[in-house]
Symmetry: C2
Subunit: 198 residues, 2 copies
């Protein structure tokens, strides 16, 4: 039985992860997008159970104590975490899983599941990143500056990822993510069972 591939997706805040992944899922409805738990407040239009499972700090802490998270991290004052059990189940069923996660979380996932594939989405330039954060209109100027500083610090972590996708046009970024998914499914390690019959 073919196991699914876990694809970890990170990127600077404002690099367009949400938009790119939404289109990837439209083209590959068989994928499972892992829904994280968070203690941060929902943004306008975000739905509980769809964008995140929004829970209180107390509930998050209880889940940490029960060992339920594949990884969890605190980021800009809020907790974010990923349920281990759901991801394992999907992979065992042969379903490819996409996990959108920040850099610290991705490092922990790589540690626990070395077979995970990771990709980092970058904007074409820092100027463009700044423009997108301002256009989004969801953050204060102070928060935007904090996000940009964080991004500058995070650049050196990109070397730990398997793939870099440049989000210059959405279509091209979507095509590259889809190609990475298809190619990873063709990797020898995932296909040797097919040639046993040959």
């Amino acid at each position: 039985m073919r196991k699914g591939t876990l694809v970890v997706v990170s990127g600077f805040s404002g690099a367009g992860k949400g938009t790119v992944l939404a289109q990837v899922l439209t083209k590959r409805p068989d994928l499972y997008l892992s829904v994280s738990f968070t203690t941060r407040a929902p943004r306008e239009k975000e739905q509980d159970g769809v964008n995140y499972h929004f829970i209180t700090r107390e509930e998050f802490q209880a889940r940490i104590n029960r060992g339920e998270f594949l990884e969890y991290a605190e980021y800009v004052g809020n907790y974010y975490g990923t349920s281990m059990q759901v991801i394992r189940e999907k992979l065992e069923q042969g379903i490819d899983v996409i996990l959108e996660i920040e850099i610290q979380g991705a490092a922990k996932v790589r540690e626990k599941l070395p077979e995970a594939v990771s990709l980092f989405l970058v904007p074409p330039s820092f100027e463009e990143l700044s423009r997108r954060l301002h256009d989004r209109g969801t953050d204060t100027e102070a928060t935007i500056q904090k996000r940009l500083e964080t991004a500058r610090r995070e650049v050196k972590e990109i070397v730990n990822y398997d793939y870099i996708v440049v989000n210059d046009t959405i279509d091209r970024a979507v095509e590259e993510v889809l190609a990475i998914l298809t190619a990873e499914g063709c990797r020898k390690e995932r296909r040797l069972h097919l040639i046993e019959g040959v």
Copy 2:
């Protein structure tokens, strides 16, 4: 400057390499398909300089002596070889190169150019392979049996390749080869220069 990717493609005789690669080149005319040198006789419709550079054993031997080959090998009584210089030039120019080559040659290329990516094209089953070799109508029954025996021996070498593409339908095999090319172009090693500006 981005360097090109060298993709080494092998597969059992009759697995459909020619058909799949022809369609890949239609969709990606920017690719360079390496043309090998061989001492075997051209098949009907094969053109010198397109399918192979057809040369005599004496000329082949002279090129071996001059160290011109990235790899060469003898297979079913004929020499096959790949020019090192042409491939290096294309890669330096940022052009992706596809090299269709048998298993022994692929092993030598991996040795000399470890950054090469390799994929093995398999038919969906041995029965299908036998059917395709008979349908092709270019070989005697004895040659077909020899090819099938060779394929059975070669199965254990597939583990040395990075990717396995199953040619059950041409369209799917073409899509997978194209995805592998796109994904390999997104690999961190080939894209770190892009984020220096970020």
